[in-house]
């Protein structure tokens, strides 16, 4: 009798569910993004939503938030059947969403961004907002400066603004679409504290992520999607990382990659006492020197904003060096054009792949020849040999397993993981001498991450030099032969991953420790 009662209590009645989505179907041209998806959210639970890139997670949540209208299916909120035709409808049902790509007005202040949705007073909304922000800071520890402009904020701070926007209206159903992919580890920890506090208040939180460890840290239940379908919903306490990964990609995933021993060759990239400025005109790279050899992966670790990005941009020619030299195979390429540097065999996998990696409106095929369109065999006089372009594109699409409806699909319609495969295909198929890879697995699912990492190791085995920049410390340590730690524009230490401890690297990243020249691994 007693055990029956508890069973009933742990399985809430229909009307107690915050959200119930039944048999949701959504089609896009050439894709079935949601294929009869069922999903539910209980009050006081964190429900993680997992799935490969393009599995349909964002689509499902956009349907719940009224951005897309489903082609089929039913939605119940607090037991009542609802039609959600716009974000306004969703908001009035107490649903808030933090989007995968920030929905902020860059040129406005934090307070203006929040006032956009909610201010009650018509005339002086900003005063009211500032007061409420102070409340939020106390209640959830969500601190931001209301007068700061969005473009001045770090990604973590922008994330905080998004969360405040979602909570401001008193939302008790909160959707977080990959909130941690732009956060530093400290910021992630803070976010989790906030999530737990909201859960304890009885709110329901839907949490999309690609990082399996995070699922076990905050989630109560997990729903896994693959190719538009739900594979299953599990209790987080009753599953394992391996099981979730298998459900996501439909096969075993290797979390530890075998790194073969490769004997290192001549230096390919030599950076000597390099200096450069950031976008605001302040020194960002300050006297950096290192070498990367054939068959070597040189990782750069560091907290975002310590000059890693500027360093990579100088090496590939996208940013001017103010002093120092960059040599590729002994040839001075300092401040040469990106095209010249690329022609020396330098491949670039840039960060912000939508802005710097592809031309979103051009087709997949056109994006694949972006670095060669002016050369044989694609050039025919002043024209392009279109059939040759398509032919080669199809070959690369097969070789690199890019999922796309056709070579003529605009690149922007691909999922994040497939855009990254496209960039890898373009950059790596010509066997480059040096690969500069910035955050190559950012936002990618476990399968795609494994794939990209394997490719980098293959390139190393082939004899390429790799300069790997990533905020994911685990990734840097796992792949690199040597790791340079950047702090405040300088390399404060170069270590071998198998010799250094995480604590030591952490101290260097925080600027609390620095190696002498003789101590650096060469």
């Amino acid at each position: 009798m007693a055990s029956e009662a508890t069973a009933v209590a742990s399985e809430p009645r229909e009307t107690d569910l915050l959200v119930k989505m039944v048999s949701i179907v959504k089609r896009f041209p050439g894709v079935l993004a949601n294929d009869h998806v069922n999903f539910e959210l209980r009050p006081g639970e964190v429900h993680a939503l997992l799935g490969e890139n393009g599995a349909g997670k964002t689509t499902l949540m956009n349907i719940l938030y009224g951005i897309y209208y489903p082609d089929g299916g039913e939605i119940y909120v607090r037991g009542r059947r609802v039609e959600i035709r716009s974000p306004r409808d969703a908001m009035s049902l107490g649903i808030g969403m933090v989007h995968q790509h920030f929905m902020l007005v860059d040129r406005h202040t934090v307070a203006e961004n929040i006032a956009l949705g909610y201010a009650e007073s018509l005339l002086n909304p900003l005063k009211e907002i500032k007061e409420r922000l102070r409340e939020f800071a106390e209640k959830y520890g969500l601190k931001v400066d209301p007068d700061a402009y969005i473009w001045q904020l770090s990604a973590g701070e922008q994330q905080r603004v998004e969360i405040i926007k979602a909570l401001y209206h008193g939302a008790d159903i909160l959707i977080l679409d990959e909130p941690t992919s732009v956060l530093t580890p400290q910021e992630t920890r803070e976010l989790f504290k906030i999530i737990k506090r909201m859960r304890d208040e009885g709110k329901g939180i839907i949490f999309i992520t690609h990082k399996l460890d995070e699922v076990f840290e905050v989630a109560d239940r997990v729903t896994v999607m693959r190719r538009g379908k739900v594979v299953g919903t599990l209790k987080a306490s009753e599953t394992t990382k391996e099981e979730l990964a298998r459900m996501m990609v439909g096969r075993e995933v290797l979390f530890r990659l075998e790194k073969e021993r490769v004997s290192r060759g001549k230096p390919v990239l030599e950076v000597e006492n390099l200096h450069a400025l950031n976008d605001r005109g302040l020194p960002a790279v300050r006297g950096v020197s290192f070498r990367v050899h054939e068959g070597e992966i040189f990782g750069i670790a560091g907290v975002a904003g310590n000059g890693q990005r500027e360093l990579a941009e100088v090496v590939v020619g996208l940013r001017k060096a103010t002093a120092g030299r960059v040599l590729i195979d002994g040839v001075d390429v300092t401040n040469k054009s990106p095209r010249f540097i690329a022609s020396r065999g330098v491949a670039h996998i840039p960060e912000e792949r939508l802005r710097h990696g592809i031309v979103p409106n051009l087709s997949v095929a056109e994006n694949l020849i972006l670095k060669d369109y002016y050369k044989e065999p694609y050039r025919r006089g002043l024209l392009l040999d279109h059939s040759k372009v398509i032919e080669d594109a199809e070959r690369l699409i097969n070789k690199f397993d890019i999922v796309t409806p056709s070579p003529l699909t605009p690149a922007k319609l691909l999922s994040g993981g497939n855009i990254q495969r496209l960039i890898c295909a373009r950059e790596l198929h010509k066997e480059p001498r040096l690969i500069v890879a910035a955050h190559p697995t950012y936002g990618l699912d476990v399968g795609a991450t494994e794939y990209i990492r394997r490719i980098l190791l293959e390139q190393r085995k082939r004899g390429a030099a790799v300069l790997l920049i990533s905020e994911d410390l685990e990734e840097v340590l796992q792949l690199s032969d040597r790791v340079g730690v950047m702090f405040n524009g300088e390399i404060v230490g170069i270590v071998r991953p198998e010799e250094a401890s995480i604590e030591e690297i952490g101290l260097m990243m925080a600027g609390a420790r620095r190696l002498a020249r003789e101590e650096m691994a060469s």
């Binding site: 989007h99 929905m103 007005v105 860059d106 961004n113 949705g117 018509l122 402009y149 926007k165 319609l413």
Partner: protein
């Protein structure tokens, strides 16, 4: 050149600034919401012809202004439907609106060419106070004007206040910067854009009325003479800010008035006509740096149709 010449240039300049200011204020709102309307010239000339005919037949200049405002508003809605609902090319649609307005106004106004408005049907400059008008140099320019002159300044200040000090202003500016962000917070992007486009049309129509019932109270074909285009330049020159538009309008107006006067001294009027555009190019160039653009560039979504959920 003695002082009375300068005084006169200022007076004429300020008079010719009013239509520039009105039309530009409307365009500022349209563009702030993300809609580029190059049809200002067309809406203005239609406003001019309808105001003239109304004032002539009814003898009431205010009725003329009201009809012109309505005509401008209706015309702008054509542009609104094309660029907001049909997601057409805003440049093409705006240009078409201008050509349509120029053509239609000359057909409608054919019978009235050469007519003058009787005095009671026009706005006349009326001194606010005899004492103030006697102020040196600016007395006449500031205090001996038609009612629409003062009204346009009031409108500018009100529009500035709304844009920068109220929630409505935040909504409008956000819609022009990032419509997806506004939509995600429940703002009706289409409604905001229609409203701002309509306001733009209404003010362009009112600007046309000023020309035909106050500035030169007669109907002359093509009497806007490119003022719609100068108003567009002024919008950029003012960096989409209603208060700066006041300053810019008087600067442009004085430059134009000075042109006529300097002509008498042998300067080429064609060169002087180009000055507003030159000033605009200078402002644009100065504002082209990264930091300046962040602070005061064109609305980021200007001219881009919005579709919810489109990648």
């Amino acid at each position: 050149m003695d002082l009375s010449v300068v005084e006169n240039i200022l007076w004429v300049g300020f008079r010719s600034a009013t239509p520039l200011l009105l039309a530009s204020l409307g365009e500022i709102y349209a563009e702030r919401s993300g809609i580029l309307n190059l049809g200002v010239e067309g809406m203005m000339i239609m406003g001019a012809v309808s105001a003239f005919i109304t004032a002539l037949t009814t003898g009431n200049p205010w009725l003329g202004v009201a009809v012109a405002t309505a005509v401008g508003l209706l015309m702008s809605l054509i542009h609104g439907v094309i660029s907001i609902h049909l997601r057409g090319n805003q440049v093409v649609s705006g240009l078409a609106l201008t050509m349509f307005g120029l053509g239609l106004s000359s057909v409608i106004g054919r019978k009235y060419v050469g007519y003058q408005l009787p005095v009671k049907a026009r706005f006349l400059p009326k001194p606010l106070s005899e004492g103030l008008v006697k102020l040196p140099l600016v007395g006449k320019a500031l205090f001996d004007q038609e009612p629409l002159f003062y009204l346009s300044i009031v409108i500018a200040v009100v529009l500035w206040f709304v844009l920068y000090r109220t929630k409505v202003g935040i909504v409008i500016r956000s819609t022009g910067e990032n419509p997806a962000a506004a939509d995600a917070l429940g703002i009706n992007v289409y409604l905001v854009r229609y409203a701002c486009t309509a306001l733009g049309g209404a003010l362009a129509g009112m600007a046309g009325a000023y020309l035909s019932v106050a500035y030169s109270p007669a109907w002359i074909e093509n009497m806007t003479a490119g003022r719609g285009w100068i108003a567009l330049a002024l919008t950029i020159f003012a960096l989409w800010n209603p208060l700066r538009a006041i300053f810019g309008a008087y600067l442009f107006g004085v430059v134009e008035a000075g042109g006529y006067t300097l002509q008498a001294y042998g300067y080429s009027q064609w060169l002087l006509n180009g000055v507003p555009y030159l000033l605009t190019v200078i402002v644009l160039t100065a504002g082209a740096t990264e930091t300046m653009r962040r602070r005061m560039g064109a609305p980021a979504a200007l001219g881009v149709p919005y579709v919810r959920g489109e990648k």
